[in-house]
Structures are given as structure tokens and as C-alpha cells.
Symmetry: D2
Subunit: 345 residues, 4 copies
């Protein structure tokens, strides 16, 4: 099947490669001509402009946007006037599902179809395949199945779930029509919310392991410092790389994220390459916001989100408020940070 | 290699089966004669008493306890007098690592060796192998390697971690000597702490998905109820079984726990078989307690732990205190629970 | 000064009484004629309709809405056509500040002024006075000062803050012009978010005190139950009413909320009058949503919010997911709830 | 009544002053002779050694320790041999209640009595009085009542709780016999746990208010940064000092802590005097540990505790783990901190 791809960054280019390798035909465009050229050199058909892209596509056209969420609307503004009734626009990026509903409704007026696809897989997706969560009209999603099934990992990527009837849905192939407009990005949003929670759980646990030697370090014995009552219980020097590795086999907490952690720790046991300022790109926030709208408690997902905010210094003023209170009721004076070098983690 | 196994419950019996199948020789004992008989019918050598078990073992003996944490001390009281210098006791259950340190120190006086083994794998372990986190003296752990390597899943159970040198440790085979006395159960404790966090992350996310139809249900419009401002954004009827299934392939949140969730939802999409009273067996508590001792923040792991307490009604009095305050400052009267049937999740 | 009051519920009627007693003139209206009659019997001037109310007010009019957030827009729809340029509408209820901005902008087109007032004080406000957080145009807020200063508690209600220059703002009198449209309800929103956190802190602490006798109760000793290792440390029968009372004098945690708790516990030490289903009326949700928009971590405020959701059973499905996982990996079967009577709180 | 006071730091010296002013007779000692001299100059009787202190006291003696928790045992080691049956030792510091039980049991062997007193009030206590939470034998506590009632604020310090019978207990005077050995420090421990939660609630809320201008600051529009969707809703420049002040009168969140915040913000609106490294001195940790032992959920109290740990950099390694995962699955590169100056809070 033929597909136009707009946006040839990290994700977009690799998806084109996987589609091409899987026998689909891609016409590709990017605002950066070099990105187009790179794929042309691999035998993919490039387009020099949105007009050129649209002109090269058979009707009804299928155009996949793989651009940053912030530029989707700008791209649509230029693209939509070039399209004709029956054409399909697919947003495969990380759009907020509220935007999908708005955009899909606007496009429907022009008899254009809109499909939102939450795409998970990251840099490994080219080889492993992409997990696709899809929202939109059922018949349009059906029409695009050759694209989805080529991008997806396929059923063989995981053992069958016991009791599951294989032909019930396409979920086992790694792509799923979740519901109407926005449903794909809604499910992807929650997927990422869960991802935040999983990541934080591993990170916190590893931090506890890393400080299992706390009893070896003298702690100040002043009124500002809570003493470690039983230092004899914190005398372990644990090898986190080995521990992450051993958990990869047979344990209840095995996962792809754990595989990645094990890899990171092999090469950089102290993770010195990172400062620990953890970004968030929106989905975690939207997940908690949705939970609040629904009245559903998400203490773990929100704690994970807030840890990221705090890692970037956003709790600073709140912390100063607390220090000010301690000073004012108890005469407590802030302790300076431990001199660098004595800090271990 | 020869091993005495005490405790033939769910875990112990399956471990004996895996050991036997892997060519190790087990002599087995349980306070329930029927449990011993069951394994004898499978060709395993049974013992009629602790004395009988000890008598049948070659010296230096290796005896593995696979009994509830609460009865380890009672079992040791009877077992230890029967042993001789050089013998090894292995505690493979879910003991608190503080107890390992105490017990190991006591046994050392009698020139007995103590090895603590955190064992993960659950009911699937017999086939998949068990992930073993081990604490104790290095030479004793080395001596027991045939047992550990037979119980463990083996290197083939997961793809190699890129950059890792295979012969660096036994971690890749699924068992690891983590450190001195207690280190095995310390690592297993944190493993379970992480497990709580992972489980809660999935559970909360699925709950958000389940309530994605919140806009379809009329909400009361009174001063006690926060209205849903934008019901049009919560109109989705999502198929959680399909969503869990699609996430199993190619997504960032794939894991063994997710595999289990996918299986549960196939047969019982509403999980009606469960009341949602979630037990905890200690390790999650101990992980947070260790984090507090170390001064390490674990907001996600503790939120996950507290959700379990709340699921069992342990927040009730606190909730009543809040309702009482609301009544007293605002005249707010508690709303009764929605009639059963209108409740959806 | 003259004021029209629409909405004579709990709050509105008491505010009219305080205004009248303080020498201001109120014309009052409510959709329930009985509510109007009640105040007329106390000597207040009633109105039989919105038209009547508007007709009785001198120009430029000042009309205060004290109605549920959900009916503000409906009320404005009827009221606004009756007003004339220069008139002021005050929303003193619990509106979302987004709505203030929208409404104020709409009213400005008709040369009407809109003032949003976050009002705290509850049922005690009639005597103690109301804390007023105000948003809108400075000159209009200034014009209404006689109303605000009569409703507010006045400077004498609390000792002067050391170092504060008395004439800097009206804050010391208990009312404050916080900023432009919406600023009043924004500040009130965060006020309530803080309130949730404060309430939860007391409630959780009292719950810990209440269970200080945990060591007296036998706990099951099975694999599903974490044993209490040191029952000797949990042998206290604490009198919560006395403890709340003693904290009211000289302690760091004294507060008006604590005063209320002390009162509740006097008459009903077990708070049997409450089921513990804690409502939330929106501001706590909006506070956390604002924090997420701002990228500011609010782990305490969100934990407090989610406790309320959980108190109403909204975690149920998530809990069932966790029980299902425990069953599937460990063969764990849910324990039934303790028989009623053995439950202590 | 006569009392020996050991430990003349911030708290001890002020308590002596309040006792003396209230007509009680103090004999005082401190390891720093200068501290003794200071009080001698105010007319208090000093002692040059523990022996001297004990010699000057009438039998049965009452000796109050007001020393850091870490040196209580060392002091007792020297003091106890000097005492005689019937004498009473009072620990008024911040001891862990486990230690009270141990110490009281040891002293009982020598027929000495031990009373634990949790003391709240801070630097303001000299004037306001101290809130005293007391554990120990009833008759001994009774014997010390003149001391307690002089230190306590007295009934007039707060309005009577409606419905409360005045003579029911001493709670209304600001001191309370809570229960047997350790009960005083147990209640004080939870008091401080609550204090952490209250402080965090205010601090988080003020942080949300401080960032109410988030819409005025351009945010990066890249894949690492979640955009602020509605900047028009975050255009407020709020005066936190005025807001804290207005909340002091009539609002639901009025408290002594709020009074302190209002004072801090008057003189230093940005709290530039603080770095935001918030210490914790043990009670918050012990409260959460007790909650875990009891199986009582304390998500708010623990979130408040963990914020303090994080404020001191203790989440750093966990944050690096998260950044490493983001890099490995998504190719995400950490964003550097914003240049100083652009940072606002």
C-alpha cells in the first residue's frame, strides 16, 4: 500500500524504513531537504514540497504526520487545502487527544478523514516493530491495515496469551483500533502515564539499593539530622548492574525497561553521564489530568510525574517555605549541602 | 548435588521438581505427610521427620527451608541441634533480612553456615526457572552453585545485554551472590518493593482507561460533587483486554506483569472474581522502612504500599475525620454511596 | 452601601445577616420564596423576582451571586439583560477561575463589571467574618470596599504580623484584591487545595494514633499477612479527644481545623456518625490541575485529593487488577474482610 | 515545686525561665558552664556538676533532661548512679519512644521513675507556654503537675471547645498524661508527622501561587518540553505576603504555622535567605514507620517526608536512572538547567 510520510526525524525515518522493507510504498517529505535526501539514497521516493507529495500520491491518499505535537496544526494548515474528499490524514505523533477530536471534526467538514495513532517503540521500533494504538472511523482504520500490520511487531513478537482467541482482534499483531477520534492518543497517553510509574518504581528501588551502605558513612549527630539507629543493617556494597541483570531472568519484575536499565548500568554504573534532570513531554501530565476529571485516584502515577518536576528544581520555592517555617518556630538553621565528594548518590 | 528440602508448599514442591528434573538429588520433608507422599509418588526421596531428613543427607549437608517466614525460627530450633559443623542452612523464603543477620550469626557460633536466598518466580517458576538473589559467605555460595544454576532460568531465558561481558558474574544465568548475610533478602525485598510500584502503575492506568466513559454517566450537580466540565472528552468504551494485549508487543511498557494482566482480562474483563482487597506480605513495608532509614525518597513505592492498606479499609477512620471536619466548617453532609448497579468500577 | 444578594442558602443568608448587622443595606432574592421570606422576617428587604431585585437597586448597581457554581451561568443569562452599563456583578461562590475570565470578558462587552470573590469561612463566618479573596478591576473593587470590609473579620481577629506595615493593603482586615479577573477564585482554589492537604495530615496522624493499640490484636500469621514484628511497641489506648484538645494550646500544629476536630471528637469519639465517604467540590482538583500546568510538584495536595477519591470506592477496579496479578504470579487468594466487630477503624 | 534541669540550650533555658517566673524552683546544670552562668545571672540556682545538681535537690528528686536525643543515654549513664529510689527522671527532648520504654524499664529495676514528655512550642514557648504530651506512671505524672501546669499555656490560651466538660482532663490546660511509658513521645512523634504534612501543604500551595505567572514566560517548544496549552490562564502576579496575611483572618486554613509564614514573607518575599534544603529530625520518619507497622495508610505524611529528602538531593540517583531510561528507549537527551536568572522559583 502507498503512504505519504511527513516528518523524517528519528521516528518518521525509521518507520519509513520498516514500511519499505515490509513491501509498502512510501513517498516522503520533510522541511529539512537533507532528511529527504537521506531516505532517497536508501531508495525511497522523496518529495520536494507538500504539493509535490500530494501530487505523487494515488487517491484516496493516505498521509502520515510524524512531526512534533507543537507543529501539527501548522502542517495541517498547509496540507489540508491540497487534499480532496476521501483522503486520510494520520497523526502518529504525541498529540493531545483533545486536539484529535477538534482536528478530526474540522477535517470531516471537508470530507477528509482523520486517524490518530499513538506509536510506542522508540529507537528500537525499526527492528522490534511499533505498538500502535489507533483512533478514528472503523472503515478507514480497516483500509490502512496493511500499513499498520507492517509497522507493528506481529504476533510472533510475544507468546500467545493463554485463553485468548487469536482472531478476536488485531491486538495480538501489535496494533489496535481502540475507538473513535482521539481514542488512539488517549490510550497512548495512559500508556505513557503508566510508563512514568514503572520507570519511577525501578529508579526508586535502585536508589534504595545504592544506599544500602548508609551505615558505613558517619552521619552528623546534631539536632538537624535524624540519626541512623541501626547502622549494622546498612553495610552492603551492592552491584546494581549485576542485580538488574539477574532480575531479567525469572523474576516477577522483568520488563523491557529493566533490560534497558541493565544495559545502562553495564557501561556507566554510577550513571555519571546524566545530571538527573528528567523531562516530561506531556502525556504523564495529561494522564493525571484525565484521572482527576474522571475522579480516579492515581497516587503512583502522579508521584512519578511530580518527581520529574522536582528533579528540575520546581520544588525549590516550596522547600524554602518549609525551611523558613522551621527557622521561625524552632530556630532551625539550614544545613549546607555536604561538600562534593562526600555525596554519594 | 544433594539437597534437603523442608517445606513442600506451592513453591517448595515445584522447586524440588525442577531440581530433580535438572539432575539434582532431593530429600524432602514437610510437616504435612501428604505433601511428602505426593513427591514420593513422583520418585523423589521423602523423609518422615527432620531427624530422618538429616540422617539421609551426606555431609557436609545442605538443607533448604521453604517455609512461611513466621515459622523459620521454630523450624531452625528443631533442625539446628541435628546438624554438624560445616553443614549449610539455606532460607529461600521471604524472611526479613534483619532475621538473616541474627540467624546467621547464631549459626556461625556452631560452625554452621547460613545462606539467604530471595526467590522470585511464583507459580510459573517451575517452567521458567527462579530468579535467585543470594546472601552469605562466598565459598559456601560457590559450593551450592549446582543447586542455584538448576533452579535459575539460565542465560538463554533472555537476550544478552549489549556490552555485557558474559563471564563477569552468574547474573546472566539468573542467580547472583549479592553480598554477605542478608544481602539476598535485602535485594529481594527491594525487588518486591519495585513490584508493588509496577503493579500499581498498571492498575491505576487501567482504571483511568476503564473510566474513559465518565462523560456518558450523568453526575449529580450539587455542592458536594465536582462536575465533569467537558463530558465530550470522556465518551470512550475501551476494551481493556485488547489494550493490554496490544501493549505486549513493541511498546515501552511490555513486561511479564503485563502478560499476566492480559491473561486475567481475557477471561474476566471486569475482574469480578476479585473484591480488591490487596494483601501485602511484608517486603513492600520493609522496603519503605529501609528507604526511610537511608533517607532515600520513595514516593511511588510508598504510594503503592498505602493503596494496598486503603484497599483493605485501613483509611476508614482518617476518612471519617475528614468528613467530620467538612461537616463542622461547611455544614457538608456525606453523600451516600451510589446504589449498586450504577457503580461501574 | 447597598447590595443585591441572589442566593440565600447557608452562605448567602448568613452573609446578608452580617452585612445588615454591619449597617449595609441588602435587597435579597432566591428562587425559593421561603428563603426570601425568612430574611424578610428578620427585617431585610426581599425581592420577588430578578426584575424586582434590579428595580429596587440604585445605579450603578452591585449584585452579589451566592449560588452553586453549576447555576451561575444560568442566573447570569437572566440577570445580565436587566442590568445597565456601570453595574457590577460579584460572584462569591466557588466558580472555576476559567469561568470568571470568560464571564468577565463577556460582561465587559456590555460595559458591565465582574468581580470574583473567593469566600472562606463556612458556617462560622456569620460570627467570625469571611476571608475574601478578590479578583477584578481595581477601581470597582475599591468601590465595593464597604461591603468587603463588613463581611471580613477585621484586623482585630488576629494579632498583627510582626514587621508588617498596617496600611500596606487591606489583607489585615481579611479581604484582599488579589489581581485581575479570576485572581480571587484562583487564590481561593489554592486555599482549598491547601485545606485538603491540612485536613489529610490531621486525619492520617489521628489514624496512626488510633491504631497505637495494634499490638493488642492478634494478627493472622499466614503468607498473605505481614506480621507485626514488635507488638510491644503498639500497646497504647489513646484518647484522641484529649490529644486533639491538648494540641490546641502551645503546639506547632494548632489551627482552626484542629479546633473543629477537637469538637467533633468530644461528642463522638469514634466518629460513628460518618461513613468516611469524603466529597470534593472541585477546588482541590483544579489546584492539582493548575500545578500540573505550571509544572509545580504537589505530591501532598494530590495525595490528599486522591484519598478522597479512594474513600468513595474509585480505586476499586485498580485494586482488583492488583489482586488479579497477585493471583496469577503467586497463586495468592484474596483474604475476606475481617468480620464486622473485629474491625476497629 | 522543685525541679532539676539538665540541658540549658534554646529550649531548656527558656523552660527554666518560664518555670521560675511561674513560681517553681529550678536547679540547673549544663555541660557548658557559660549556659549555667547565664541563668545564674537571672537569679536561678546553678549546679557545677551532676553530683552538685543531685546534692542540691530535695528527695524524692525530679530531674528534667532537655538534651539532644543522641546524648540522653550518655547523660543517664552518669546521672542514674547518683539517684535514689523514688527519684524521677523526665526526658523532655525528642527521644524515640522505643528508647523511653527501654530506659523506663531499666530505671524501674532501680526503683527510679521515668516520665517521657513530648514538648512542642519552639522558640515562642517561653511566652506562649509549651504543649506537653506525657507518658509514664499516673501517680508520678500527678506528682509533677505543678511543673507541667506552669510550663503549659493554660486554659485561657484558646477558647473552650464546645461541648467539652472542663474538668475531664488536664488537656485544656495544655498538658496531658497520654498513657504509659513512651506514650508522650509517641503522641509527640505523630504531632510532628502531622506538622510535616501541614507545612508541606502550605508550601506546595504557595508554590502554585508563585507560578501563577507561568503563562508570561516563553517555554521551549521542543519534544522534551510539555507546552503550556493555555498561557492566558497563568498571567497572575500574586503577592504572597498579602495572601498569607489575608488567610489569617476568617479562613478555614488559619493556623499558627500560617502566622509564621505571613511573617517570613513580609521581610523576604522570595525567601532568598533559604536554599531550600529541608532537614528532618526523626519524628516524621518514625511516624511513617509506625504507620507501616500498624498497616495504616499515610500517603500525605510520607509525601511530605520524602519532599524533604528530595530537597537535600537524595533523589539524584533515581533521577539519573530515569534519564538513562529515557535516553535508551527514546534517544532523549537531558536538557540543561535554565541559565540562572531565568529561574524564578
Amino acid at each position: 500500500m502507498q503512504l505519504g510520510m511527513i516528518g523524517l526525524g528519528r521516528m518518521g525515518a525509521d518507520m519509513v524504513r520498516r514500511l519499505t522493507k515490509g513491501g509498502q510504498q512510501c513517498i516522503v517529505y520533510d522541511v529539512q531537504p537533507a532528511a529527504v535526501e537521506r531516505l532517497e539514497q536508501e531508495g525511497v521516493t522523496g518529495a520536494s514540497s507538500l504539493e509535490d507529495l500530494v501530487a505523487q500520491l494515488d487517491k484516496p491518499r493516505a498521509v502520515w504526520l510524524m512531526v512534533p505535537a507543537a507543529v501539527v496544526d501548522g502542517t495541517l494548515e498547509k496540507l489540508v487545502p491540497l487534499l480532496e474528499p476521501g483522503d486520510v490524514v494520520i497523526d502518529g505523533g504525541n498529540s493531545y487527544y483533545h486536539d484529535d477530536i477538534r482536528r478530526g471534526t474540522e477535517l470531516a467538514v471537508r470530507k477528509l478523514h482523520y486517524v490518530d495513532v499513538g506509536t510506542s517503540g522508540g529507537v528500537a521500533g525499526r527492528e522490534r516493530g511499533y505498538c500502535l494504538m489507533i483512533g478514528g472511523e472503523a472503515e478507514i482504520v480497516k483500509r490502512l491495515e496493511p500499513i499498520f500490520s507492517t509497522l507493528a511487531p506481529g504476533a510472533a513478537a510475544a507468546p500467545a496469551t493463554p485463553g485468548r482467541t487469536a482472531d478476536k482482534s488485531t491486538a495480538e499483531q501489535g496494533f489496535l483500533h481502540c475507538g473513535p477520534l482521539g481514542a488512539g492518543h488517549f490510550v497512548k497517553m495512559v500508556h505513557n502515564g503508566i510508563e512514568y510509574g514503572l520507570m519511577a518504581a525501578y529508579a526508586e528501588g535502585l536508589n534504595v539499593l545504592r544506599h544500602a551502605d548508609a551505615g558505613k558513612h558517619a552521619r552528623d549527630a546534631d539536632a538537624e539530622t535524624s540519626p541512623l539507629r541501626r547502622p549494622e543493617f546498612y553495610q552492603y556494597d551492592l552491584n546494581l548492574a549485576d542485580i538488574a541483570e539477574v532480575w531479567r531472568r525469572g523474576s516477577v519484575i522483568g520488563s523491557w525497561l529493566l533490560d534497558l536499565i541493565a544495559g545502562s548500568l553495564v557501561s556507566d554504573a554510577d550513571l555519571k553521564n546524566y545530571a538527573g534532570r528528567v523531562s516530561d513531554s506531556g502525556e504523564g501530565r495529561w494522564t493525571v489530568a484525565a484521572a482527576i476529571d474522571e475522579g480516579v485516584p492515581t497516587p503512583v502515577l502522579s508521584a512519578a510525574l511530580f518527581e520529574r518536576f522536582s528533579s528540575r528544581g520546581e520544588a525549590d520555592f516550596a522547600n524554602r517555605v518549609m525551611s523558613a517555617m522551621r527557622h521561625d518556630f524552632g530556630g532551625h538553621v539550614e544545613k549546607p549541602a555536604a561538600p562534593s565528594g562526600s555525596q554519594q548518590g
